[in-house]
């Protein structure tokens, strides 16, 4: 109705023929943590460019896309109700399709020839996760890049998020090929997903800490430079799908969590319990099936039967071999 639909990007660039890093947030309208982190990055990079942060300088091209799905963000919903389309299942899009196709195609074209890319993603809907890195079938260079994005978040610890050192391998599904991240990987972009937090909310403290991780990553890939500081490799623990244990609710009801994400759990530690809404009776207590780190926990209290309420990352089971055959 006359209101233009625009895709905004913020760009900082030092000359031509330099490496490019693209950072994309807000593919879903409820991924607000990413929007906030990008806003912190924008302020940081502008401070660098304006000389307010001595020692730092822009050494490549950095482009930030703070809010791709503006329509859904404005609606306050995950998806735009006009087309009910999951924008992260519409890549690479098309230059002659409908609005969503065009938007995806423009974003794809602006980012697919980047050397590096970061997708800022939230946790699963109605859950909270510790911030972590996700990779698809990681090769050496992706693992190396992940180590530079990893690293302890100051203030982390048993009661807080333990840091970004967790790298999870993504599971390709039939719909996965339509995701932006998959399109980047197919285009040989060194691409990582930075996921976590809660959907439809922000965690300013964690984002403040994550800013340091992304700055370290920018130093490592050379789009940002510092007079004396060098990028540091963080500790990263790589978890494949076999390391994930999902705990599901056998009953529906009100979930009252007891554990906290980021907690190192011993087998049998109570994760929370399900109560019947009408009677208040405890229907089920949920426990950690084995030792592990609590990656994701249900954040929204109403739970359907068979829904996952917690995801643990566990160490691979040791194989014992008998000394005889």
């Amino acid at each position: 109705m006359g209101e233009a639909v625009s895709l905004y990007k913020n760009v900082w660039e030092k000359g031509h023929f330099v490496d490019t890093l693209s950072i994309v947030a807000g593919l879903h309208g409820d991924h607000l943590n990413g929007l906030h982190l990008v806003s912190l990055l924008s302020r940081f990079l502008q401070d660098v460019e304006d000389g307010r942060l001595p020692g730092f300088r822009i050494a490549g091209k950095i482009q930030l896309f703070p809010m791709v799905n503006i329509q859904a963000v404005m609606e306050g919903e995950r998806l735009w109700s006009f087309d009910n389309l999951d924008l992260d299942l519409a890549f690479p899009g098309s230059s002659c399709g409908e609005l969503a196709d065009r938007l995806c195609n423009v974003l794809y074209k602006h980012t697919a020839d980047s050397n590096y890319a970061l997708l800022l993603d939230a946790s699963e809907k109605r859950c909270v996760s510790i911030p972590h890195i996700q990779l698809l079938q990681p090769d050496r260079s992706l693992r190396r890049a992940a180590r530079y994005l990893a690293g302890e978040i100051p203030g982390g610890g048993p009661d807080r998020f333990p840091g970004l050192g967790i790298v999870r391998e993504l599971q390709p599904t039939p719909a996965f090929q339509l995701r932006l991240y998959n399109q980047w990987i197919e285009n040989n972009v060194c691409a990582l997903v930075l996921a976590g937090g809660r959907s439809a909310g922000i965690d300013p403290e964690t984002n403040g800490a994550l800013l340091a991780n992304v700055v370290n990553f920018m130093l490592a890939v050379g789009v940002l430079a510092h007079a004396t500081r060098k990028a540091e490799k963080g500790e990263a623990r790589f978890y494949s799908l076999e390391n994930e244990r999902r705990v599901s609710a056998s009953h529906p009801g009100l979930f009252l969590p007891e554990a906290r994400v980021g907690e190192s759990l011993r087998q049998g530690r109570k994760l929370g319990e399900l109560r019947d809404i009408y009677s208040g009776e405890t229907l089920e207590e949920l426990f950690a099936p084995q030792d592990g780190l609590l990656l994701t926990l249900r954040d929204y209290p109403l739970v359907y039967q068979n829904e996952t309420v917690a995801t643990l990352l566990v160490e691979k089971e040791r194989r014992w071999y008998w000394p005889f055959s």
């Binding site: 006009f82 599904t173 719909a175 339509l178």
Partner: protein, 322 residues
């Protein structure tokens, strides 16, 4: 008729949610063939749900009056996305997911992924042929049609010709189909016809009775029914379109689309299709004319449009009509 729940789970309040299957068994010990109809994968697509009502009603009467007519087995799944149906929404509410983009996912991923897996397994286990009924989304209305991915044309086209549709559209494979129910069933060697008719949230009784005739005809053709009182009406010879025989007219400007054509209308090159207007300024932004000669089989119903919005799809009279 035997009623069974193929997927069941309870909501937070404790109320049960079920995907129900109605089975009309064969009069023979071993059914000649088993055909399944399902509707409501998108919860706002009610034409298929109504069609299932018509079909169940017909089959119940037939079972009462002529039980021997059932040489094979018919399964009807009238509402496979029950919560979305209650909500009148395309997506499975609470999770905001499209069930027809979840097929083939590991069950552990989420409750909807698990439900999709169970549904798919049930369909595979009881179908030698399936029909997946859809309407369009809220933007477009469709003449009754069957869409076939090119890879499955050989197997599906002869079956699609029995369904009394107006159009059969054979289109190339694209990544988006891999997570759909139709594709996954076809890959699993259950020939599956994906049918589109009408528009969501509405019922076109004439389209539904046309496709009921088609469904009954298909069941006789497949050897599942053999009724002495089978309707003898002719079924339509549909337009069979390849990708290059479909002309798409898109909006060049955003605004309100006021159409002046109907589904099934014939258009020639230069014929006026409608106007795109700017209601705020009172201006006509675009007079939309057809660059093609043929039959309109898709029509814009939601007047709100952005640039690139599809306005009509035309079944071209020939390849040179482009």
């Amino acid at each position: 008729m035997r009623t069974r729940s193929v997927v069941a789970y309870k909501g937070p309040s404790g109320a049960s949610v079920e995907i129900v299957k109605q089975t009309f068994s064969s009069a023979r010990p071993k059914p000649a063939r088993r055909v399944s109809f399902l509707a409501g994968l998108h919860g706002d697509e009610l034409e298929g749900v109504y069609l299932c009502f018509l079909l169940v009603q017909y089959l119940r009467r037939l079972k009462e009056t002529e039980p021997g007519a059932f040489l094979g087995e018919v399964n009807v799944y009238p509402a496979v996305n029950p919560q979305a149906l209650c909500h009148g929404s395309r997506l499975w509410p609470f999770f905001s997911v499209d069930m027809n983009r979840l097929m083939g996912e590991p069950a552990g991923n989420s409750l909807p992924a698990g439900a999709c897996r169970e549904l798919l397994a049930d369909l595979k286990g009881c179908s030698d042929l399936a029909v997946d009924l859809h309407s369009s989304n809220q933007h477009l209305a469709e003449l009754p049609q069957i869409r076939i991915v090119k890879d499955f044309e050989k197997k599906l086209l002869p079956l699609a010709l029995q369904c009394n549709v107006d159009v059969i559209w054979v289109h190339p494979m694209a990544g988006v189909f891999e997570s759909t129910l139709g594709y996954n069933l076809n890959r699993a060697k259950v020939p599956t016809l994906v049918m589109e008719l009408g528009i969501c949230l509405r019922i076109h009784r004439d389209f539904c009775s046309q496709i009921l005739d088609g469904a009954i005809h298909l069941l006789h053709h497949a050897g599942v029914l053999n009724s002495s009182r089978r309707p003898r009406g002719e079924i339509k010879m549909p337009l069979v379109l390849k990708a290059d025989q479909v002309g798409l007219v898109q909006a060049k400007r955003a605004g309100l689309f006021a159409g002046r054509v109907k589904l099934g209308d014939r258009v020639g090159k230069g014929d006026k299709i409608g106007d795109v207007v700017d209601p705020v300024r009172g201006e006509t932004l675009e007079e939309v004319v057809s660059p093609f000669k043929g039959t309109i089989f898709t029509l814009r119903e939601l007047p709100l449009i952005y640039e690139g919005a599809p306005l009509v799809r035309v079944a071209l009279d020939g390849p040179d009509e482009r």
